[in-house]
Symmetry: C2
Subunit: 216 residues, 2 copies
Amino acid sequence: MASERHAALAARLGHRFSAPALLEQALTHRSRGAPNNERLEFLGDGVLGCVVADELYARFPQLPEGKLTRMRAGLVREEALAEIGERLGVRELLVVGAATPVTPSILADAVEAVFGAVFLDAGYAAARAAALAAIAPLLERLDERDPVKDAKTRLQELLQGRGEPLPEYRLLSRNGPPHEVECLLAVRALRTTGSGTSRQRAEQQAAQAMLANLEK
Amino acid sequence: MASERHAALAARLGHRFSAPALLEQALTHRSRGAPNNERLEFLGDGVLGCVVADELYARFPQLPEGKLTRMRAGLVREEALAEIGERLGVRELLVVGAATPVTPSILADAVEAVFGAVFLDAGYAAARAAALAAIAPLLERLDERDPVKDAKTRLQELLQGRGEPLPEYRLLSRNGPPHEVECLLAVRALRTTGSGTSRQRAEQQAAQAMLANLEK
């Protein structure tokens, strides 16, 4: 029965709907006429943008605005939302017109609409909880990779955490690639070097070597 | 004294800060070094997008997603935010580097950062209240003009509100401009006409005439 499957989706979202019709509407594509999920998608897009900004701001206190903005764009892009939709089982519950294939775009829009429905049903805190649970796997992936946890960032965070001056990076050779770079920690009289096909890669390697020094 | 002027701004926002340092940070441009308002601007951008979506969704229950999206874009664009900043007195409190002129862009960013600061200080409901109070004049302007309150929309809303069939528009002449259009309400045996340099303008005029008929 449809309402049992809707209840299962609501359980995966961690939200019990006061108005289950909102969830049904969120799962109805415009190819089925009105009411459909277009306005809820508009609302959910705003809610999700806020929840993701809120979470990234708190989760990555060292990152500049530019990196946060890129991370947010990555989390709310169509492919990411469609992936969430597949995992939540939104595809199976989508109601579309007979001749309408469920594209990643339609799936992503429905995911936004579902968050919009939770927001309408119970407010920001409920929508935040549901959205964070749904994007948790994507957030964990962010933790593990660039640009968050690259060596330069980790070295900077380590030194800031200890209240020590930040490293200096100097290019040793201008006739690259490969580029050669040194990383200097004057107060500790430490110096490491790195090389790579770009200056950025060389700096990462030098930072990695400095981290290894400091963590010894 | 700066903190008195900050308190005056907080009063205009309708928010009393638990952590006044957040407001000071929101008013500090990156040209003054760190800490500055860049990360708060990122957060505030997300908060404002959600608040505006929330408000437009509730305020214009008849409007399709496409129009809501355009209205939101208009409300959060740089010129609109800079206007809010001028009215709130953000310009006078902005802290920028000695050689840095306060551009509309810097002002708009600071306004977003201020909403981000309220959000961090007291949560979504507080940020929503502050942002809605600040954008109220812009919202009122929306109420008064296209695309919200054009004649065709008002006519449609009036008929929907009465549970009556919607009007039909028919082009009377194809050799325009000027275009001539009729608006038909078959169940009431009413017909009005309009003309204009575009079909859309002609339809608006016919709808306006029909509205006048119905409101008689």
